[in-house]
Structure formats: structure tokens, C-alpha cells
């Protein structure tokens, strides 16, 4: 665990220096960091706990809407609205899980799509709440300590802090009792129950934590975009993107989802001119490659090879 935390500290230091070195590549770095944070949050539920959700865009949308509406209608500062969004996302996650956790495997995934789609329809149709299909603008933001939150540098540091907090949470959980409970439930719910673990309670906790963390990233995303539409925020494709980022990077590994974000956002940027808006093609091809040839994902496969090499070395000596 200390090894991972030191690694995170080094990456954080590199991240803090990043805007000074590459001041012109901040937007893509923000994308990478947000996706890293979302995919890592998703992985708490989808990887460590084995419940593949295809509805996490709902929480992104929730965070973004809390920040946007809080600011434009009530003049609430984003840090308050983000905290409210996280609490509300956890409550939503609780009821959502309570409703759907009796379903297992692919059926759970299907039900998350249905719930997320219903939430999307609510966001589009309830104009009084969300401004409807036209969306919401964030016109002004407070300036804490004289920092302009509209500047890309400030947004980069927010995204960096978000990704770092999420990864740190996963590092701590991976070695905590809760982390072992998550994995036990993933491997076999019935055996976990026999060992005294309540599978539903474990899954609910994972879902609530995952939802709360995702919605904080959603709030930052709202500030970055400054203009929020339900079609974008609650889109099924965003949910799919988040899930695939984590799976391609490596489910149930600490660094997998972040590596996935780097690879996928990077590849999307590289092929931007070739594929234009068809950049999800990369996700499609890579997920096929992962499912067929590297079922553990990029980091999972590297870790497996590393462990095999260690054993081989030990056998020789």
C-alpha cells in the first residue's frame, strides 16, 4: 500500500508541474484526469465488486447539474454544491442498488441502463428542474483566493485533485477489510455470505461510494464545460465510455482505470482528425481485443506477467 501511495505522490508532483511545462495541452489533460477519476470510481463497484454498471453517466450528470443550477439559480459556490451532489448521489445509489441488486451479472447491467435512461428522460423533460433539452449555462463563478475557476489551469488542478483523491481512496480500500469484502462478494456471493459478509450491504456501500465520487468529478466537468445539456451528461455512451475505460485498463486493479483513461483519451486525440466524431470506434476495437486476448486488461495483464516472472526467478534460485 505504501508503495502505491508513494507512486501516487510522485505522479501528483509530476501533475502539479504539468501546467508549467505544457501550458497548451491542458484541455486533453483535464479529460484524461476526469476519465481516470470516473473509471477508478466505477471500478470500485464494477471491478473490485464485480457489478458492471452501465449507468454511471447519471452521476456525472447529477454532479454537473448540481453545480450549474446551484450557481445560476441560487448563487451557491461549486464546492458546496459538489458536496451536496455527492451526498445526493450516495442516496440515489442506495435506492438504485436497493432496487436492482437482487439481479445478478448481465441482468444487473441491463437494469442500470434502464434506470439511467429513465433519469435521462427526467432531465430532458422536467424543464423546471433542469432547464430541459436546451441546457444550463454557468455564467459566473466565485473566485476563491482570487483564483479564476474558468481558467484551464485552475480546472486542471481540480481534476488532478479529484483523480488523486479517488485513486488514494482505492489504494486505502484495497488493503482494508472493506476491500476484501468487496472481492469476496465479487468472487462468490454465496461463499461470502457463508463467511459472514452481507453481500447486499457490501454492494450498496460500493455503489454509494462509487456514485458519490463520480458525481464530484461530474461537478468539475460541469465547470469545465460551463454549458450543460442532458443529452451529453446523461448519455448512455458516456456510461459505456466510463465502464470500458476501466475494463480496458484492467478491472479490479489500482492503476488500470487510470491507465485506460490515458490510453483511450490519448488514442481518441490521436485519431481525432481521422475518425472525427466516430472516435468511439477505438473503444469498440479495443474492448474486443481485451475480451478476446487480454481479459484482465492492460494493467491486469502486466501485473500477471510480473508475478509470473517473480515466481520463475524464485524457482530458479
Amino acid at each position: 500500500m505504501t508503495k502505491h501511495l508513494i507512486g501516487l505522490g510522485l505522479l501528483l508532483a509530476a501533475g502539479i508541474a504539468y501546467p508549467a511545462i505544457f501550458p497548451n495541452n491542458l484541455t486533453i489533460a483535464i479529460s484524461v484526469l476526469l476519465f481516470a477519476g470516473w473509471a477508478t470510481s466505477w471500478d470500485l463497484l464494477g471491478g473490485w465488486n464485480g457489478q458492471v454498471s452501465l449507468g454511471h453517466a447519471s452521476f456525472v450528470g447529477l454532479g454537473a447539474y448540481f453545480v450549474a443550477i446551484g450557481q445560476s439559480q441560487f448563487g451557491l459556490a461549486p464546492w458546496w454544491t459538489m458536496a451536496m451532489a455527492a451526498a445526493f448521489a450516495a442516496i440515489l445509489g442506495y435506492f438504485w442498488g436497493w432496487l436492482t441488486f437482487s439481479l445478478r451479472g448481465p441482468y444487473f447491467s441491463l437494469s442500470t441502463i434502464a434506470v439511467a435512461e429513465i433519469l435521462r428522460l427526467v432531465a430532458i423533460n422536467e424543464d423546471w428542474l433542469t432547464g430541459g433539452a436546451t441546457g444550463v449555462f454557468i455564467a459566473t463563478l466565485p473566485e476563491p483566493f482570487g483564483i479564476d475557476l474558468f481558467s484551464r489551469t485552475a480546472q486542471f488542478y481540480m481534476a488532478l485533485a479529484f483523480a488523486a483523491v479517488v485513486i488514494a481512496t482505492v489504494i486505502v480500500i484495497s488493503r482494508a477489510r472493506f476491500g476484501f469484502q468487496l472481492r469476496a462478494v465479487r468472487e462468490d456471493e454465496d461463499s461470502a455470505m457463508a463467511a459472514g459478509i452481507d453481500p447486499t450491504a457490501t454492494k450498496l456501500k460500493a455503489f454509494m461510494l462509487s456514485a458519490a465520487l463520480t458525481s464530484i468529478g461530474g461537478g468539475i466537468y460541469g465547470i469545465v464545460l460551463a454549458f450543460i445539456e442532458p443529452h451529453v451528461m446523461f448519455a448512455l455512451l458516456l456510461s459505456v465510455q466510463i465502464a470500458l475505460t476501466a475494463i480496458i485498463g484492467g478491472r479490479g486493479t489500482i492503476w488500470g482505470p487510470a491507465a485506460g483513461a490515458l490510453v483511450l483519451v490519448g488514442a481518441g486525440e490521436m485519431f481525432r482528425t481521422t475518425f472525427a466524431e466516430a472516435n468511439m470506434l477505438i473503444y469498440g476495437i479495443l474492448i474486443l481485443v481485451v475480451v478476446l486476448f487480454v481479459p484482465r486488461g492492460i494493467v491486469g495483464e502486466l501485473a500477471r506477467r510480473h508475478i509470473r516472472r517473480l515466481y520463475a526467478k524464485r524457482a530458479q534460485s
Partner: protein
């Protein structure tokens, strides 16, 4: 028009729309029933069918129904190839693998269409697009009626295939018990390929019959159809072809009635809510007999 007339009109529209939903749902349920694979790309194969009609119309000036002659065999072959090279490799992996693989196929199809045809909605203009005729005061759209007839023919053909032929017997046997089927000498891998081919063929056919009615867009419509197909099959009971027909008609009627008597902007949501309720409280479907644990 009196209230009862409007009601009958709505029911008629719902039933006809439901026929197309049933056609989409049957392909999905057939694949699930035999292969136990949840096919996320099903809706994208429907969209592929729509674009094949657009393509044949643009190149050869064919009517959508004429293009079925080519689109259906091509769809079948596509399905067989996809099954052979992708799905057959993950059939014994954990169920999520197949789901993720079909999700990948779905993204590839949608975005490949987007690259080829561009993002703007496409359709095929036919002379009978807006023609209607009335039976006992109820107006029936020609396009929907043709789609309904095509659905009935297809279902009858499928029924005959499944129940009257040797290959149908092998398919039913594989669905019932894969190992048992292997033991009596059925090549279940071949059956899987055939079934996935049939599933794609049905999806393509549904797409072609829908093109005079709906606009095709590359990426969004696929997901919409996939969701509809799930709703239809779960309403009826996953893996049950006959029930998918009832599920399709039920979804069509629920959507139209819900939209005209309650809040029309939530048209799409009614099916999804029904889907969730069934999944939670009656996972074997409204018409399923066997109680399976999901």
C-alpha cells in the same frame, strides 16, 4: 371522433408498431435462448438493415422490400461470421465477456456507419409512405401494415423452421441442453453460428421494414432499438420466441396509450419502467412458465 374511436385508433397503432418491436425482439430472444448471450449489438444490426435499404435505394433505386432479397442473406452471413470469429471464443467465458464483446461490436458498427454515411439522418422515400386506409373507422398506415405482414410471414417461417425441420430440432435441442445436444451428435457450434445468423437476419429485416417510417442515424438509434428489444424480450420472457411477439405488441400498445393518455414526453420511459418491474418481480417474463433464477 368519439372517445372510443380514438382509443381503437391508438390500440391499432400500438399493435402495428408492436409488430415491428416483436420482429426486433425475436432475434434477440432467439440468440439468448440458444446461446445464453445478451446481444448488445442487436439494435445496431437493425440500424445496419436500415442503412442497407438506404444504400440499395441510392445505388439501384430499389424499394426497401425488394432490397430484403439481398439484405437478408447478407445479414445472415454477417451474423455467422461475427459468431465464428468473435462470440464463439467467449461462449465459455464469464457471461460479462460476451456482453462486453457485443458492446464492442455495437460501437464498431455504429461508428463504421457514421464514418461511411456521415451523421445526418437518412431515409428512403417511398410513394406509399403516407398512404392510409380505414377499416371500421380506424385508419391504418400502409407502411406499418406492410411491416406487420412481413412480421407475420417471418414469424410463421421461423415457427416452421424451428418445429418442422431437422435443423430446427437441433436448435431447440441446443437451447434445451447444450451438453445433451452434443451427446446425441449435434454440432452445437454450427447451431450457434446459424442462430446468430438468424438473429442478425431478423434484425436487418426489421430495419428494412422500418426505413420508410423512421429516419436512420448511425449511433443513437442502435442503442434505442437494443433497449426496445430488451424490453420486448424481458416483457415476454427471455429466450421464448412466442412470448416475444406478445411482449412486442404489449410494448407498442403501452407506449401509444401511455403517450396519448398520460404524459407524451415520457413515451420511451413507460416501456423501461415496465421492463424494470418485470425484471425485478417476474424475471421469467409475463408469459414464461419455467421459473429460473437470474
Amino acid at each position: 371522433m368519439a372517445g372510443i374511436d380514438i382509443f381503437l385508433q391508438n390500440v391499432a397503432n400500438g399493435v402495428l408498431m408492436g409488430g415491428v418491436y416483436a420482429l426486433i425482439g425475436i432475434g434477440l430472444t432467439l440468440v439468448f435462448g440458444v446461446m445464453r448471450t445478451i446481444n448488445f449489438a442487436h439494435g445496431d444490426f437493425v440500424v445496419l438493415g436500415m442503412y442497407s435499404a438506404v444504400l440499395f435505394n441510392a445505388l439501384l433505386g430499389w424499394d426497401p422490400y425488394l432490397s430484403l432479397l439481398l439484405a437478408m442473406p447478407i445479414g445472415f452471413l454477417t451474423g455467422v461470421i461475427v459468431e465464428r470469429f468473435i462470440l464463439s471464443r467467449v461462449i465459455d467465458a464469464p457471461p460479462e465477456s460476451a456482453l462486453l464483446a457485443t458492446l464492442g461490436i455495437s460501437l464498431i458498427i455504429g461508428n463504421a456507419i457514421l464514418l461511411t454515411f456521415g451523421g445526418e439522418p437518412r431515409s428512403v422515400q417511398v410513394s406509399y409512405a403516407s398512404s392510409t386506409f380505414s377499416i371500421a373507422g380506424v385508419n391504418v398506415s400502409m407502411v406499418l401494415l406492410l411491416a406487420g405482414i412481413a412480421t407475420v410471414i417471418m414469424i410463421a417461417a421461423l415457427y416452421a423452421l424451428l418445429n418442422r425441420t431437422e435443423i430446427g430440432r437441433a436448435i431447440r435441442g441446443t437451447a434445451e441442453n447444450r451438453l445433451g445436444a452434443e451427446l446425441v451428435g449435434i454440432d452445437t457450434r454450427r447451431i450457434h453460428s446459424i442462430v446468430f445468423g438468424l438473429g442478425v437476419m431478423l434484425a436487418v429485416m426489421a430495419g428494412v421494414t422500418l426505413i420508410p417510417l423512421l429516419f436512420a442515424t448511425p449511433t443513437n438509434t442502435g442503442a434505442v432499438f437494443t433497449l426496445k428489444a430488451f424490453v420486448v424480450t424481458v416483457l415476454g420472457g427471455l429466450g421464448n420466441v412466442g412470448a416475444a411477439i406478445a411482449g412486442g405488441i404489449l410494448l407498442g400498445v403501452v407506449e401509444v396509450l401511455g403517450a396519448s393518455y398520460f404524459m407524451s414526453e415520457y413515451r420511451e420511459a413507460y416501456g423501461l419502467i415496465a421492463f424494470l418491474l418485470i425484471l425485478l418481480f417476474r424475471p421469467e417474463g409475463l408469459f414464461g412458465r419455467t421459473v429460473k433464477r437470474v
